[in-house]
């Protein structure tokens, strides 16, 4: 079984991730997931590819900490986080977050919290590659 927190170039399977998430407990009544995908259009421009740069070692340790924090904060039974790096095309998967809990509210709230926190905490940067040139995405504060 793969690690619960990963940064990788290759795509992932939700079925595999959910199977791994469930493996630890049959008391899991609710699983919330968030899947972030590459859009082929952003801020009025066509986007052909998105490429990622990451401070790999720090990103991985921040993601591991984020998973532990979520498990504790929401009383989860388990959680998983996978982020791709390298270059992806429109429609491709970028990030996957899953939270499993006894009841649905904790699972769904944890999922929402984790993706919000990931964007704040994890040193990864995306560049949009468009026919008009490449642009690093600069999120507003």
């Amino acid at each position: 079984m793969q690690q619960a927190v990963r940064i990788q170039r290759e795509d992932f399977s939700q079925d595999d991730e959910i199977k791994a998430l469930k493996a630890g407990s049959k008391r899991m009544g609710g699983i919330g997931t968030f899947l972030g995908c590459a859009r082929d259009f952003s801020e009025g421009r066509e986007v052909s590819e998105i490429s990622f740069d990451a401070y790999g070692s720090m990103a991985l340790s921040e993601m591991k900490q984020l998973r532990s924090d979520a498990i504790e904060k929401f009383g989860l039974l388990d959680a998983r986080i996978v982020h791709r790096i390298g270059t992806v095309r429109g429609g491709d998967n970028i990030v996957f977050i899953a939270a499993g809990a006894e009841h649905r509210v904790a699972a769904l709230e944890a999922c929402r919290w984790m993706i919000d926190e990931l964007k704040q905490r994890v040193p990864i940067w995306k560049k949009e590659i468009t026919p008009q040139g490449d642009t690093w995405v600069m999120p507003h504060p």
Partner: protein, 84 residues
């Protein structure tokens, strides 16, 4: 050993692009603080440091720039994250 000690400075994404490099080796001076390192680099690469929002030392986020900078530290000056 004097003169051999260096700080490894890492840049990623938009900052690396403006620096023109992902890593710089900076000579370590005794008593050096994080702020000294930043000031020196910011003077040299003003465009890159315009977008620097976060600093990490040895993989941990740092807010207090007055802390001492041991030799062989790995420092990253980073733009706002845009992953996920």
């Amino acid at each position: 050993m004097r003169g051999e000690e260096v700080i490894k400075v890492l840049f990623f994404g938009p900052v690396a692009e403006r620096i023109g490099n992902g890593v710089l080796q900076i000579a370590h001076r005794p008593g050096m603080r994080l702020q000294d390192l930043r000031d020196g680099l910011a003077a040299q690469y003003p465009q890159a440091f315009e977008i620097v929002c976060f600093t990490a030392m040895n993989g941990e986020s740092v807010r207090d720039m007055s802390i001492p900078l041991p030799d062989s530290s790995e420092v990253a000056f980073m733009a706002r994250f845009s992953g996920g």
